[in-house]
Every structure is written in structure tokens, then in C-alpha cells.
């Protein structure tokens, strides 16, 4: 599987952040499909392959999850907690991408299994910089877990 074409699941409820992040991805030259879900419930549905998400041709398992922590209905922390217990997907790399730089949030995110923690910057140049670095590392450099590579 070519990681450069692998899907990235983007869990984000703020349409502005979605639009800006997509723009940053495009400008950085990454072509990975960015699948956006707006709350924790949908994120779990997608990863569990429930309902329409059962169609893995249209909704493939992601090579990376970008997870906002403050989400409607089911929070990012809860998604993470669920994910780390879920068979088949529990090893998926998760990058928390959130507004909060508060240390209790950071600690809690790692406690429930985040692989990385990034704070959304104010200032588009900084967002571009962040997305570029993120892509270089998590898409181009990092090796994903075998089960995901094999298609779940």
C-alpha cells in the first residue's frame, strides 16, 4: 500500500479549521484523501465500519487519524479510549490536533493513547509549517502497524 495515497481520517467539528487544514495539506503537496467527520460518534462509526462505513472501498481504514479532542457528543478522549480497545484498529497512529495547550489535557491525551499531541496555531503560516512537518513525519517517514498495512 502506498502511504502517500493512504486515507487520513480527520475528526474535526469546526468547518473553518477543516477548510484551513485542507488548504494547508494541498499547499504542502500532499495528495492523501482527507476524510472529515464532525464528531466522535461518526469517528467511531467510521473506524468500526458500521452502516455505510462498512464499504471499505469507499471508506478505507486510515493510515493516520487527526483527532480534535473537544468534539460534540463523544469527545476525542472517548474516541481514543474506545480505539485502543477496538480489535483491528487499536494500533492506528493518532495525532491529537487541538486548541488546548493546557497541560492536564496533554497528559490525559497521552494517558488514553495518543501518539502525538499538536496544538492548532493561530497564524496560517504556522499551520502550513505544522502540516508540512506532520506529513513529512507521519506520512512519509513513519511506519504504520502491520495489521493496518495488510488492510485490517
Amino acid at each position: 500500500m502506498d502511504r502517500r495515497r493512504g486515507t487520513i481520517l480527520f475528526v474535526e467539528d469546526d468547518p473553518n479549521d477543516v477548510a484551513l487544514t485542507q488548504r494547508a495539506f494541498e499547499q504542502a503537496g500532499f495528495v492523501n484523501p482527507l476524510h472529515v467527520v464532525a464528531d466522535g460518534e461518526q469517528a467511531i462509526g467510521y473506524l468500526a465500519g458500521e452502516g455505510r462505513y462498512a464499504d471499505r472501498a469507499r471508506y478505507p481504514l486510515p493510515i493516520l487519524i487527526l483527532l480534535d479532542l473537544k468534539l460534540p457528543r463523544v469527545s476525542g478522549f472517548e474516541v481514543l479510549t474506545w480505539l485502543r480497545e477496538a480489535p483491528g484498529v487499536r494500533r492506528l497512529p493518532v495525532v491529537a490536533l487541538t486548541s488546548s495547550g493546557q497541560s492536564p489535557d496533554i497528559s490525559r491525551a497521552y494517558d488514553v493513547g495518543a501518539n502525538s499531541y499538536l496544538v492548532k496555531p493561530v497564524g496560517f503560516e504556522r499551520l502550513q509549517e505544522l502540516v508540512r512537518t506532520l506529513g513529512l513525519y507521519w506520512i512519509m517517514t513513519n511506519h504504520g502497524p502491520a495489521s493496518v498495512e495488510m488492510g485490517g
Binding site: 473553518n16 477548510a19 487541538t98 486548541s99 495547550g101 492548532k120 496560517f124
Partner: protein, 503 residues
Amino acid sequence: MARKRVTGAAAARMAEEHLRSIGEALPTPVTRCSRDLRYLWVSQPYADWLGHPSEEIVGQPIVDVIGPEAFEAIRPHIDRVLAGTRVEYEAQISFRGPGLRWIHAVYTPTYGTGDTPDGWVAVVFDVDDRHRLEEEHGRLAAIVQNSDDAIVAKTLDGVITSCNPAAERIFGYRADEAIGCPITIIIPPDRLDEEHEVMARLRRGERTGHFDTVRKAKDGSLIDISLTVSPILDAGGRVVGASKIARDITERKRTEAALKELTLTLEERVSERTRELEEINAELDAFGYTVSHDLRAPLRAMDGFAKALMADHADTLGSRGLDYARRIVEAAQRMDLLIQDLLAYSRLSRDELRRERLDLGDVVREALHGLEDEIRTRSASITIADPLGTVLADRATLRQIITNLLTNGIKFVEEGSTPRVRIRSESRGLMERLWVEDNGIGIAPRYHGRIFRVFERLHGIETYPGTGIGLAIVRRGTERMGGRVGVESNAGAGAKFWIELPR
């Protein structure tokens, strides 16, 4: 008054001798004086009392021996005895020799051959000691009479023998009613055992240190009292009775109860207040979370989309449109700075600090590392007067404080001049003082008190950008670590900021 006259000189002399031998045999001071106010003879006790040998007294004028003051005092009595009256008096007189004494004197006229007294015999009792005892007794009695505490004496059988006015007032019995009655009239039935116990100890001669108990008044009401029971001893040291001193402590008991009640409500109020504060703290945490999450999201959008406009639609926007978009970006970035600083400030006020011994040089270099870009952009020159001292501080907080001071030092310079910042430290007693000195625009002394407050800015955003929180963080952080901050500066002459922390 018929009196048998002795006739004849021989008989008179005999009588005189007789009188003298009786007088001299008495254990009391006795003297015989003549009508011309001289001593005819004195008994040995009399001579002893005046403190002179009798030879020096006999034949002398009375006034010369006892002094004019005493003589004046007894003169009226002498006049009366010489008028033929027996005189008896008690007076306090200041004698030359014995000094001021209470005496009890009896003057008896003597008759020689004539009908008028030829002199008198004076018997003098020195009653000074008795008077003093009486005075002392009077004083003690007055104390008992005037005491606010009830004082009741009783026999070993428990019969009341005396009681003072306070006892009458407190227990409601008049003294004449109470005396002769058993003490049990003022003891509630359920306290009789206590009385037996007290009396048993008393017979053994023990005093009962004061204890709180209850007594019964004549009208049946119960009175809280503090009681002391002491044995009354006779001259031989035998216990013959007891004195009870009772203090009415109804008022005190009431105060104690009120105080206890107050303490209880106070505790309740404190714990309630603590609960409230905990709630407020939790709310503040939630508020901080909301601020950091939600308030910044719109800013990212403002900044991001304004920049997207500038990048993608520059030709349609025109120069004015581009300027507006740039202003939106700047406003968003300033707002973001404000939020970040506010968060840092509130975190600083609440977070637990971990104090450790830190080398100021290390922390200063950490802070400089974080400011590398800014220092390069402004071509600022920073010098450190090594070695710097050590302090007890929380590393992250201290780094933040030093960063803010350095940022200020670099920022507030005249346009076009190169910022020069000098860092040094000095020991002051138990504290280490870190100086951050710049060559900037300085601060007029009248602003020195204001600059450490939150949101105080002395300059417009255009001239010197900033949030007005940097120095507030410096102060709050330093004070939380047990230190102080200060500044020495004049307008246009650079500024010397200092922080002082425990060494």
C-alpha cells in the same frame, strides 16, 4: 465624794511609799506625776516603755520626757485629773521614744494634805498591737463583706455559721435566716453526694480547688457556681469547720455556650466557603479550557481566511482590500496573544509550584535560547555578568519571568537604536537579586507602581506591541515563589528591573 484624808506628814509619806511599792510591782507602766507636771517616780516598765533609765526621768518635766506633741495630746486629760476626776481614755499619741502608739490610760488623782490633788497616778497600757489587729480584722471583714463572691462558713456538721452579703444576694437567704441552718438548704438533692465527698476531704484537712457545680437558691432556682472549700482551723490546727467561696458563673456559662455555638457556626461557614471556593476553582478551570479552545478557533479562521484572500484574490482586492485583510490578520494575532498571556497568568496563579535550587545562569540561557529569533531580528546585544547566583524557584515559572523581562528590555528602545541588555545578580541577605538592565526608553517614576498590574500599558499598540500582562506575570510569579520585584528607572534613561528570590 467623801474621802478619808490621811493627816500628818509621816502618814502621808507612808502612804506615798505604799503607793509606790504597789505601782512598781505592777507589770504595767505606772508613774506618779506632780501637780507641777513633773515625774515623781516611774515603774521600771514605764521607764522601759519610754526607753530611758528611770533616773533620767524622775524629777523631769513631763513635756521634756515625752515631747511637746505628746504632752499637748494628754494635756486635757491632765487638766481633768488635776481637777479631781478619774480619767480613762484611749488615744493614738506620738511619744518621743516609743513613737506613735495606741495607749489606754487611767489617771487617778492623788491627794497630799490639801483638798486639791497634788498629782496623779497614771497607769498606761500600750494597746498598739491590739489596735493593729483590730484594724486588720476590720479590713478582712470588709473584704468578706464587700466580696462579689458568696462566702459561707459552716461547722463540720454542716451548720451555717456566717455568710456575707454576696451570699445573701446569690442564694436569696438573709444572714439571720441562714445562720444555724444546715448547709443542705442550698444544695440540690442530686448534689448531696458531692457535699459528702467535699466534707470527707475537708476532715482530712484538704482544700478543694475550685470546681464548677450547681447550687439552689431560696426560690428554688438553680445557679451555676464555681466553688472553693477550705478548712477552718482553730488555734491548735484542728479542723473545726469549712469556708465555702462560691462564684456565680451563670454569666460565664452563658458566654461559654454562646462561644461554643459561635465556633460551631464559624466552622460551618468556613467549610461552606471552602466548598464555594472549590467550586469557583473548578469553574475557573472549565473557563480556562473554554477560553483556550473556543475563543481561539474564530481567530484561526479570521487569520487563515484573510490570508487565503490575500494569496488567492490579491488582484481583485486591490491595495486597499489587501490592507484591510492585513489588518484582520493583525487583529486576530493580537487577540491570540492576549488570550495566551491571560491563560499563562491565570495558570500561574493556580498551578502548584515545585521549588528547587536553580542556577540563575542556566535559566537565563534557557530563556535566551527561546528568544533567539527576536534577538537576531533586533540585533540586540545581551551580556551576562557571570557567574550568577542560585535561587529556590520553580523552573518553568522562573524561565517565563526572565523571558518576559528580557523581552521588555529588548522591545522598549528608541526606534533605530540597538537594544543592549545586561544581566547580573547579587546576594542580599537570604535573597538573591537578579538585575535585567536595558538602554531603552525608561519609565517615569510615577508609573513604577502601575506597570506591574494586569493590562497596564504605557504605550500605544502601534509603537510597542504587547498585551500588558508580561510584567504582571513577572510579579505574580515572583511573589508566589516568595520573592519581590522592582524597577529603577527614569524616562529616557533605560530601566533596571530586578527580581528577588530566596537563595
